[in-house]
Symmetry: C2
DNA sequence: AGCTGAGGTTCAAATAATGAACCATAAGCG
DNA sequence: CGCTTATGGTTCATTATTTGAACCTCAGCT
């Protein structure tokens, strides 16, 4: 792997910890030599991507990404475009609606709207959504090129609940269903007692960039209701995509869909 | 320079352009070979730091920084902490108040509060504040270690208006004044007709991390008023620092102020 | 004192980055 | 149409950077 890749992986690892860590720890977590980790950290620090606490000497994410994110968001205000649709859906469905974005090989939650009622599903912003065990993950994968599906299913698949599907062939079945009807359903895949439906937000080239998902308590959710949520998620996802990518057509399969292969 | 540094500089360069650019352009702007620039871009793209438009093949900032920024902000919500103080100051001073943050070697505007009156100074979020020509820049530099002041003053100093001070020795004088009274004044340094006062927000180790600045039309601002703004900026900056860094002491010069030297 | 584990540094050896030259494609033009 | 000149993208021998075992230093602990 390139040096740049390793340094960015270190940054990624650092970002996934919930506390600041010391040099030795971060080196171990990244399987890097201490000296190497240190050089990376120094270099990343020079550019503001990490910060070292002056007292504890531990490292944390720096402020450079904040600046970059502001610029990116100023030009591509994905959240600002998407949030109103998520809000509307949370109101009309009266369930928790969350939006995820694919970044750095993972699908992570970038916004959550809680419905105006007490008994609801809690989803945290920033949480990572496993591809095989969440509605969002399935919805995302189902619209990916086959090669990426294969790659995702070759990795070890964690069994989060008794209901988590971990057999790659069964998952392929779910993905086909999802592709056919346009939305996915996760029946207690990540947490017991929770059912979700999700639809992908797709870029003009057809590639998914994230997902809209409705999560509801299993106890009060009928089969009809979850299908209705799925249909609403598709509508919201398409609306976001259309608004975000402007007048560019969502042309199913455009001549320039793929870059190389 | 290390490979990582070069790649991050490329990212920085890309972030400073107001439009997407092609491979040849970005290579030229970074003084890199085309092949090298391409490898960097591919590597950065793998990790979501840049994106390539599928049609135009041009590159732009990706979504990874957005994710990192969310994490950083979730743990260190600098803006959320600072904004209320900026708002209060904008109301009490009845002038535009802006907050800047040091990142990647530059001071950039991260928040602006407009006062509730028609005739006011406009400052854009995201704008870069030159060290020698703005109140924020001077306030920041004045509390930096001497080595960084030297470094900043060795670079070419652009003359933005007839009043911009570009003589390094005169600037050193301004910095001493600033350090002595705790806030800086910029008299039409960046734009004609504008006077500003700024104070640094400092980390517990004493290093400035950003600045609070009040910007007013020169025409209605007396010497007394600008000094009053300066004093209020100091108060706001210190309040932000105290709230952001928690109970840690702002100990003037702690034993561990510097990392090496 | 002596031990342990932290952060941080060194320098010969190993490896990855480099860039001139290359190809492919598209647009402009006589 | 063929030529020119852009663009994005790729190759591979050369070269410079990265690497990591061993090292140092400091703080806390026995």
């Amino acid at each position: 792997m390139s040096t740049i890749g390793k340094a960015l992986s270190l940054l990624d690892t650092l970002s996934r910890l919930d506390k600041e860590v010391g040099l030795t720890d971060i080196a171990r977590l990244c399987s890097l030599d201490k000296a190497t980790a240190r050089r990376f950290l120094v270099e990343l620090e020079k550019h503001g991507f990490v910060e070292q606490d002056a007292d504890s000497r531990r490292y944390r994410i720096g402020s450079a990404p904040v600046r970059l994110a502001r610029i990116r968001e100023a030009r591509y205000p994905f959240l600002r475009v998407a949030v109103p649709f998520i809000k509307t859906l949370a109101e009309s469905s009266a369930e928790t609606v969350h939006l995820s974005e694919f970044s750095g090989g993972r699908l992570s939650t970038i916004h959550v709207e809680d419905p105006p009622r007490a008994h609801r599903i809690i989803v945290d912003v920033g949480s990572i959504l496993p591809f095989h065990a969440t509605a969002s993950g399935l919805a995302f994968l189902a619209f990916c090129p086959p090669r990426e599906i294969d790659a995702a299913l070759q990795k070890p698949l964690e069994k989060f609940t008794d209901h988590t599907v971990v057999d790659p062939e069964l998952i392929r079945g779910l993905l086909e269903e999802t592709a056919a009807r346009g939305f996915s359903i996760s029946h207690q895949g990540l947490e017991a007692g929770v059912i979700s439906a999700a639809a992908p937000v797709r870029a003009p080239d057809g590639r998914p960039v994230g997902c809209v998902a409705v999560a509801a308590p299993l106890s009060r959710t009928t089969k009809t209701a979850i299908h209705e949520f799925g249909a609403q998620a598709i509508a919201a996802a398409n609306a976001i995509s259309e608004k975000y990518y402007g007048s560019e057509r969502l042309t199913g399969t455009s001549p320039k869909t793929r870059r190389r292969d």
